[in-house]
Structure formats: C-alpha cells, structure tokens
Symmetry: C2
C-alpha cells in the first residue's frame, strides 16, 4: 500500500532503519545482555522483531504492558521495572505461565508483590535519579523482607536516568560509573545474579550491569540522537493544510507528539509552535511547501509520542509493508 | 463504586464542578451563542451534557470527532474548525443525515470540501495567530470560489488564540477587539450569518462573534484558570508508590499528562519532574505522604491529557457515578 493513500497524521517507522538499529544494538549487547524496554514503542509486533535478533527477556513499565506481552507469547522473562501496589493482575499472568519479575523498594511494595501472587522480584535501588528505589544501604533489608515473604530475589536494578542530560560522552561515562558503584554496593547486600540498569544513552558505557534496559534505541528521537549511534526511525507524517507568506501549517500537533522534550523538528524548516492538531513551521529558503505536500515531523521524545497513536506503519521505499497496532497502551 | 477500588492512574472528573462550569457558561452564552469545542474532552457523553444545557451545535478538530459525534446522535450542527484535504468521510457523515460545516482557507481546501461531498463551509480567516486562515482581504475571493463550486457559505471563523497568553484582562480584551476587527472586515466580504470565534479565555470578552468555540471551560486546566471563572474539574489520580526523605513518587507521568504547558500541579506539594509513568514531587511541610496514598494531579493542559486516556470517571463524594469512554480519540 502506498503511504500517500492513508489519511494523516500517521505514525511511520522507517523499516530498514529500525532493522539497522536492532542489529547495531544486538551486536554490542547480544542476547541476555539487553532487556529491551517496551515502553518506548508499546507494540508487541516490534518486540517480536527484538526477540528475533536474540533478546528473549523484556522490560515493561506498566501492568498492561506485562499482560499484553504475555498474551502475545512474549512472556519468557518479563521485568516490570516499576513499583506496583496492587499486583493481582501480575499474579494472574504468572499463573497463566509467564515469568514476571517485579521491582520492589519498600515493605509495602514487597507485601503487594507477595499478596498479588508474584514469585520473583528485583530490589530497586536509587542510584541518583530522584525517582523510585531504596537507598543502597537499605537494599539488603528489602531483600530480607522479600525472602521472608517467600519471594525469590533475583538481584537489583537501578536506573541512572540522570545521565540522559549529559551530552558529553566522558561526563556521561563518569556519571554512569558513579551510579553503578552505588548499584554494586547494593548488589553485594542483596545477592542474586541480576544487575539490571541502563538506557540507550549508556548502552555501551555501562559495563557493570549484567543487562541493559534500553528502549529508545529501536526508534530513537531527536533528544537522544547526539548520544548514541542509532538512526531516527520514527516520524509523524502530516499534510500541509495551509500556507501563507511566512509560514505553513500541517495537520499534526499536541495530540500526536510527546512535547516534554520540546518542539519536534522538520528537515528544511523551523518549527514555531504546535497546537492540538496543528504544527506551524517556517520553511527554510529553497524549501518551499504547498498545500497537500507531506512533511515528516521528528518527535523530540518517542515514548509519549507513540502512546497517542493506535497503530504504526512500517514503511520501505514509500510503501507500507506492515501496519502494527500499538497494542500496549493504557494501564 | 468507590474510586479507591480502581487501579491508578485514573482520569477523574469532579461531577458537580463540571455541572457548575456548564451552568456558568450557559448563563452567559446560552443556546447557539456557544458552540462547545469537543476537542477539549473527546467524549460524547460529556457533549451530551453540554447539549442538555442548551448547546445543540458543536465544534470539532478532527474528522474522527465529527464521525463520532454524528454516530452518537449529536450531529445536529457540527463545525469542523480545521482544514481538510480529503473530505470524503465528512461527505459520508452528511449523506447519513448530519449537518457538517467545514473550514476552508484556500482553493485546495475549497476543492477538497466540494469533492468530498461537504455542502456547507465557513471561510477561515487568520486574525493574528500563526496558524490556518486566509488573510481578511482574501476572504471574499475564497467565498466566491466556494460558491462557484456549489458550496453554501455560512460565514466566517477566526480563532484569536494569540490572546491565551495575555493574563491581564484589559490587555486580553484589547487583543480580542483587534482580532475581531479583522474578522468583521472579512465577514463583510464573505456574507452569511455566522461569525464564529473565540475561546474559554475570551468567552465574555468577545462580543463580536455570533458564536464562541470554547472548549476548555468544561474541565479547565491550570494554564487557563487565572483567566476565567471556571473550576478545575479534571485531575489524574495517582498512587504514591515510593517515598524517600526529600521527595515522593506517584504512578502517573508523561503518558497520562499533556506537557506542552509545563509541569502539572499537586496541592500541598512541589512537582519536580515527570517521566513516562512517574511523577516526582516534594511534599510541603505539614503535608507528608505515605506509600499507598492517592494524590490528585492537575494537568497544565487538559486537551492533550484527555487524549491519552481510554475513559474518564465522573466522581461525586468519592464515588464513581459514571464512567465515560473517551470515544473521540484518534483521527
């Protein structure tokens, strides 16, 4: 099917670029060294491609993601890298035959895991990002609490998200090492053989974790692009609906683009603003646009962009070769 | 049903506050003086409440919104206040018995309306916001083109969105008058009896338009709150999943909150950051929180917040009295 025959806005994946990203990552972090994070794409069909290049375990951010991955037959080893207070739905996924490991960082979340029928946990450790995770010194106590409730403690996890703003590679490497020093301290107290951490921007810097939870690398976005060798494979294709002397307007906006990392980009143009269903941009000299033209809008942040769309179209040479439902949305 | 029995994050509407907002608006702009914009809530059940207080005509931003409103029996008089280049789906809605008026601002969009089977249009005029709309001087020519294609030209529309940043009421009033002077110039060239404009922040200032396209007033958000007397009726309810000495973390984030107007708010706390499924906040002195507590997160911008959710729960005294599907999402 010709991409131009579909009404915009359209979430479009450059199929060959996606495959190159998956291959690049699998070469550096093969098999269990990578636990791809599905929150970045929320699409079981894309997860299946990640499995096809060797990654059988996945990271999830929501209960719905765990349920959807299990239902799609991708439940070999799912980590919900997030605290949950009502885990019964996860217990149901375990009872149905999938492997689910849950992050815990407090007595309450240990109790929720045990009460909900989850069997395995990782102790989530705060390694510098102001988010979840116990202190490294407290990790042993949390592990003891979990074991006392009959839970298998597989190890530790800690997300060094504070490094995502350090565009200088040496600074980023130093910050990753500092964070992982904390995580290794916790791992010594906790036991188990899993040390789960990391992100696309630290995939080749974090040599301490046993597995890396990268997600953005598959589709990439403009914010992380300067920090990793992956190609931007995702765009929102929009149609120019109005043109005036100084600017043009296309039909995608705040409801098709994650905006927390700032404005999206259009090659050969300067983006001025977005409103609900519009993007206003000034074409650069020599790049005029006409009503009816299509433009590829590059989101600054992939994850919250994907979550707005019902489906993504995989495109090769202007042809839609597959259409994938974004089937892990919601909670 | 008790709201606390539902798993978070939850999109929650304060039912009595919503009803007060609808009543406040209907008192100032009764019946056809208001054409509520459904893009702000994307929910036909909420539109039905707006109809119940007297507003039979609605404004839409997408073809899907038009289709959904018509399918819900709310197609008495729908304005798609946006340019469209492939209007066949709108023609189908007209053929099925609903009234659909489409914005046009160029020869191409006039042709699309006629080719798609739309019968009625408004000439969209740029009144100062860098977005769609022809120049006021060009409006008569666009109307002539439309009439030559057999379209009924009902009048003009022009959105004075540039005034939404003017928190000073006098400045805002002056900017609305300036914008409407342009729209009236265009109206004189176009003919017809509709002059459609406006927004929640100009609902009582814009005395020139025959109808106001306000949307945010029903649910409101923190960005527009200082500029209009409507109550914030929408929140995202989240559960505290982790607490440390300086901050706490609850389970809603970038995928449940529109972020283009900045960070959301939590009463009695300072919000530090949001990530995909987390909000980190510092509770104020005297407002401690514990794991398992629930917090109401006020989005800075309602429209892109609602678009992330499958349903909204209408709550009164802590009880869910209705659950409404957000059934106008997508395109």
């Amino acid at each position: 099917m010709d991409l131009d025959s579909l009404q915009t806005p359209l979430l479009v994946v450059d199929g060959p670029a996606l495959d190159r990203n998956l291959a690049t990552m699998a070469a550096v972090l093969p098999g269990e060294r990578l636990r791809p994070h599905v929150k970045a794409h929320k699409t079981t069909a894309l997860a299946r491609r990640q499995e096809a290049v060797g990654h059988a375990g996945f990271t999830c951010a929501t209960i719905r993601e765990v349920e959807g991955m299990a239902a799609a037959g991708l439940g070999h080893d799912l980590l919900l890298a997030n605290e949950v207070l009502h885990a019964r739905r996860l217990g149901d996924v375990v009872d149905a035959g999938s492997r689910v490991t849950l992050a815990v960082d407090s007595e309450a979340t240990v109790a929720a895991a045990a009460d909900g029928g989850v069997k395995e946990v990782l102790v989530d450790v705060n390694v510098g990002l102001p988010r979840c995770g116990c202190s490294p010194e407290d990790a042993g106590r949390i592990a003891d609490l979990a074991r006392a409730r009959g839970l298998e403690v597989r190890g530790v996890m800690g997300y060094e998200g504070q490094v995502t703003v350090l565009t200088d590679r040496d600074e980023r490497a130093a910050a990753v090492e500092q964070a992982m020093t904390l995580l290794l301290q916790a791992a010594a107290l906790v036991g188990g053989d899993v040390i789960s951490a990391g992100a696309t921007v630290s995939y080749d810097l974090n040599t301490w974790a046993t597995e890396i939870q990268a997600g953005s690398y598959a589709l990439m976005d403009t914010a992380f692009a300067p920090m990793a060798p992956f190609e931007q494979a995702l765009s929102v294709v929009a149609t120019v609906i109005s043109v005036s002397s100084k600017f043009a307007v296309a039909d995608c906006g705040l409801k098709s683009l994650g905006m927390d990392h700032g404005l999206p980009s259009i090659e050969g143009a300067t983006v001025w603003l977005c409103s609900d269903e519009h993007i206003t941009f000034a074409p650069a000299a020599g790049h005029p646009v006409a009503v009816g033209d299509r433009v590829a809008v590059r989101p600054a942040h992939v994850d919250p962009t994907v979550a707005y769309h019902e489906r993504m179209h995989v495109v090769e040479d202007g042809q839609v070769v597959e259409t994938w439902p974004v089937d892990l949305r919601g909670w």
